[in-house]
Every structure is written in C-alpha cells, then in structure tokens.
C-alpha cells in the first residue's frame, strides 16, 4: 500500500477469527465454493469437517443451502469471492435470504480493485451496491484486520442477513490494539472541520494519508471510517456535513450504489452540502493492485484534490 503502516490480511484474519469462535458458537456452520484456501475457511474445514460443507463453484446452490440451514437454526457463514458471492446468486440472496430475513452471513473476499491481476471479471466493484439494495441486510466493509476480527464476531451475534466485504491484498492496519468496533456507529479517526472525508474499507487508510497532505496546506480534515454502510450512521454523516460544510466520500467501489451514493442520499435529504466522490468510474483491468489504485485514482493525492474541490464549492 501507499501508506507507511504495516499491512495485514483481512481474509486471513477472517479465517482465524472464525476458527476461534467455533467453540463459543456451536451453531456456526461454514459453507464454501471451492475457494476455501483463498478465503481462509480451510482452517475451519480442517478442524471441523463435520461443520463444513463445500458446494464447489455453484453459488446459487451455495446460497440456497445456507438459507435452509439458517431456517433450521444454524448460523451459516458463506464465503467466496465478492463477484461470485453477490453477483451470481443475487436472486437467491433476494428471495431466500433477504425476503424471509434469514440469519445468513456472507463474507466475501477479493472485493474491489485490490483483486489486481485477475482482471475486471474478478474485481467486485458492484458488491456494495448489490448487497445494500437488499432490504434488511447489514453491510460492513472493514477498514483493516483488527476491525475485521470484531466485525466477524458482530456478524455472528447480529440476527439477520449480514454481508462483509474483504480484500485479496493485505491492507494497512489503521487501528491499534485497544480499538472497539461498534456496528452501525461510524468511527471518527481524525478530527477537523474544514472538510469531512467519509471513507470505507482500504480507503480509510488512503484518506488518513490524504488528511496528512491536506494538513501540510493548513487544511484540517475530519476522517470518518464508515465501516457500516447499512444501516448507515446518518447522525455521524449529517454532523460531519454540518461541522465541515463540505464532504468527500472515498471507496474502492463503483461510483454508483456505494458509499458516495448512500451518503449523498442522506445529505440531499437532511443537510445539503457540496459532495465530491472518489470512486471507480467503470471497469478496470489486470495489473498489480497498487498500480491499479494509482491509475484509477484511489490515492491520497486524489482524495486531497477532491477535498480541495469540495472546500472551493462551499460558497
């Protein structure tokens, strides 16, 4: 990553956390689609084969079976890549999980641009839009590995459908050991009142770096980690807009239907202020993840530029 922070793998944290939870949560069962090594659920598979089911790359069935298990009192954790877990079985998520509000936990890795070399078909840049469009889903995009560990626990104890978005690449750690994740409560990571940067996922780290760049020019940026996209912490969003008068959203996702859309929807209704969005404008290509982040504009400099534009528009 661009930042100087040490990197850690959120998907590895996922697999390890889940394994730690096995004794405490006897109803958890883990379901996979032939990508268990990649999503680190092989750790669980090898320890708890009786509570693990592989369905091969057949995601419609994978989600369908999870719904039947959830309806029978189990807590199924379903994991594959974001494209295969949200796109392929979208109708199954809609009809079998969201509509009956079943307790299915969908934890997908390889979301976004950070999937890198596998190219556009593997880069899930629509997963947040898809899952946020499902009534009753909780949607969380953790900023780093320490947060991921707590999100996975929150998923297990929060009733109802739950989507967690993780990356392929190891990502910068932005939280210290004392961090407490609060589902649905956005986290202010840096205070400031000239502009508010609302970021999610890996863009939290990028935005913290952007805030440093802005500070060098005398601009104080508030940086908020919007880990929970749904339900959105509207209060934090509105008060950021009120205090700073200008907002930047930053996400490693398509510009439609993700954080920028969701924040703009709330601000348009409750506190109209200038909003600038840093997000993907379309499909990308195959390349090392870091080079893609630069080419497609997901850098501290681009976030800082967006902040400058937002401040100029304050009027």
């Amino acid at each position: 990553m661009v930042s100087k922070r040490p990197n850690a793998s959120t998907r590895e944290t996922y697999g390890k956390t889940l394994l730690e939870m096995a004794g405490e949560f006897p109803d958890i069962v883990v379901l996979g689609g032939d990508l268990n090594v990649s999503v680190f659920t092989h750790l669980w598979r090898d320890k708890h084969p009786d509570r693990f089911f592989d369905f091969g790359p057949a995601e419609q069935n994978l989600v369908g079976v999870s719904a039947g298990l959830a309806a029978s009192g189990k807590i199924p954790f379903v994991s594959t890549f974001a494209v295969f877990g949200t796109g392929r079985p979208f109708d199954q998520l809609r009809v079998l999980v969201a509509q009956p509000h079943l307790n299915v936990k969908l934890v997908c890795t390889h979301a976004g641009l950070l999937t890198g070399e596998d190219g556009m078909s593997a880069q899930g840049i629509e997963d947040l839009a898809l899952t946020c469009s499902l009534p009753g889903f909780t949607v969380v995009s953790p900023a780093d590995s320490p947060e991921t560990a707590q999100v996975i626990r929150a998923a297990a104890v929060t009733p109802g459908p739950f989507y967690v978005r993780l990356s392929r690449a190891a990502t910068p750690v932005v939280h210290g050991p004392g961090y407490r994740f609060n589902l649905g409560c956005a986290e202010t990571m840096r205070d400031g009142s000239d502009v508010a940067i609302l970021a999610t996922g890996v863009m939290v780290s990028v935005s913290l770096d952007a805030a440093e760049l802005l500070a060098q020019q005398g601009i104080n940026a508030r940086v908020i980690n919007v880990h929970t996209l749904k339900p959105l912490d509207e209060e934090a969003v509105v008060s950021a807009a009120r205090d700073a008068g200008a907002v930047v959203t930053a996400e490693e996702h398509y510009i439609h239907g993700g954080l920028g859309s969701i924040v703009s929807q709330v601000l348009g209704q409750k506190r109209p202020v200038p909003v600038e969005m840093v997000a993907l404008e379309g499909y990308a290509e195959s390349a090392p993840a870091q080079e893609l982040m630069v080419k497609y504009g997901l850098t501290p400099q681009r976030v800082a530029d967006a902040a400058q534009r937002a401040i100029k528009r304050k009027g």
Binding site: D50, A58, Q60, L62, G64, S66, G68, V95
Partner: protein, 263 residues
Amino acid sequence: MQAIAKELRRDVVQTIYTGGSGHPGGSLSEMDILVTLYFHVMRHDPANPRWPDRDRLILSKGHASAGLYAVLAKAGYFPKAELPTFRKLNSRLQGHAHPMTPGVEMNSGSLGMGLSFALGCALAARLDKRRYNVYALLGDGECDEGQVWEAAMAAAHHRATNLVAIVDRNRIQNDRTTDEVMKLEPLAMKWRAFGWRVLETNGHDYTALISTLERASQRQGRPTAIIAHTVKGKGVSFMENNPSFHGKAPSAQELEKALQELA
C-alpha cells in the same frame, strides 16, 4: 384421501377465482402428492408449525401456492376462512408461498431454488441428530433451472439420505409443453446420473403414491427422486393438459363448471 383431494381441488379453483389470479394447473396436478404427504406420510404438527422434528415439505414450485394453502388449511395450520384472502391486501396468503403463512417453510416464486433450501434443512437434521425427512416438490419445467442440478449434485455428494425430490411431471410449463420448450427426457436417467435413487409413480393413484413415498423414506445412502406422472389441471376437464390454465384464474362460468365436475 380421494374425498379430501376432491374437496381441496374445489378450494383451489374457488381460491384462485376469488383471488382473481393464480396458478390452477400446477395446483391441481400436485394435489394428490400433497394430500398423501400431509395426511399420510409426513410427521408434522399443525398446532406447532415450527416443531424442530417435523418432516418438511418445501414447495419449490411456489406458484402452485393455492394447492398448498388448501392442504395447510385442511390440516389445521390456519382457518379455512382465510383462503378467500389469497392475493389480497394484508393477507398471509401471498401469491407465491412465503413463510409468513403457518406451515410454509420457504419463500418462493423464483424457480429452481427449493432443492438447495431443502438440502440445507436436510443437512441441519444431520448436524442436530434429528430424524426428519425433507421433501422438495419441483415442477418439471422448473428442472430447466441450472440450480436444480447444482443442488442435485451436491445432495448426492453430501449423502443427504433424508432428502426426497418429487418432480410433478405434468409435461407442461408456462407457455407450452416441456417437449416444446425444453426437452427433459430422459429425466430419470438424469437424476440417476447425478447419484440419486429414482422412483416413478402415477401422481394421482393413492396406492402407488403411498407405497412410493414410503419406499422413499427408507434411507438408502443416497437421496431419492420421485418422478410423479401427473396431469396438469387434474380434475377439471377444460384445465387438464391445457397450458392456458397454467397461470390464469377461471371465469365465473368456468368456476361453476369446475365445481360441478369436482362435486
């Protein structure tokens, strides 16, 4: 049971007529299968629809909800007086079966999903060391959906011996016959090739249905598929084998004629 089925077929045409829309063809073809399951084969408790040890019927062909509602009302899951609320505002009887109705296990309306859901229920029985069976009722047109075959492969792989798929083989789907829309034969060979034990039965003959379903509940290390040969629209002459009554309510005159035939 024949007498019950006749009464419930009257309920089906009446319910769909009152609702103004619905799917009579598949509701009538599945009726004898459902009556055999709910009144002879399955262990279930209408007073306790969520009884954890119950046998489960998953209506994957959820458009044929009117048939299931008639059966559930007769069994006592909810008052028969609710049937006229079918498809009306504030009703528990949704157009496609939804678990808000007591006795309905799964939300439906998008074809191809029920066998996967049923497999999830079947695997949960194994995890919980419960003895229940899970029956998934599929349409034959529904077998065009790829997910059915994903689930078929997975159920055999995971040795879901307590899972029974029943195909309502009425040879008609939405627009036309299954032969015209998408050939399914050799259907029994397909299930067999996917690792299932296959039984075939006349889906309207109670002696045959009972013996087939009883055989299916004797576990044999494999899931069981039953191809139930049925007549779409069974019991109402002008609906029988008539694709136009797949998803259309009868007119007032048609209702009267149907009720006469089913008297």
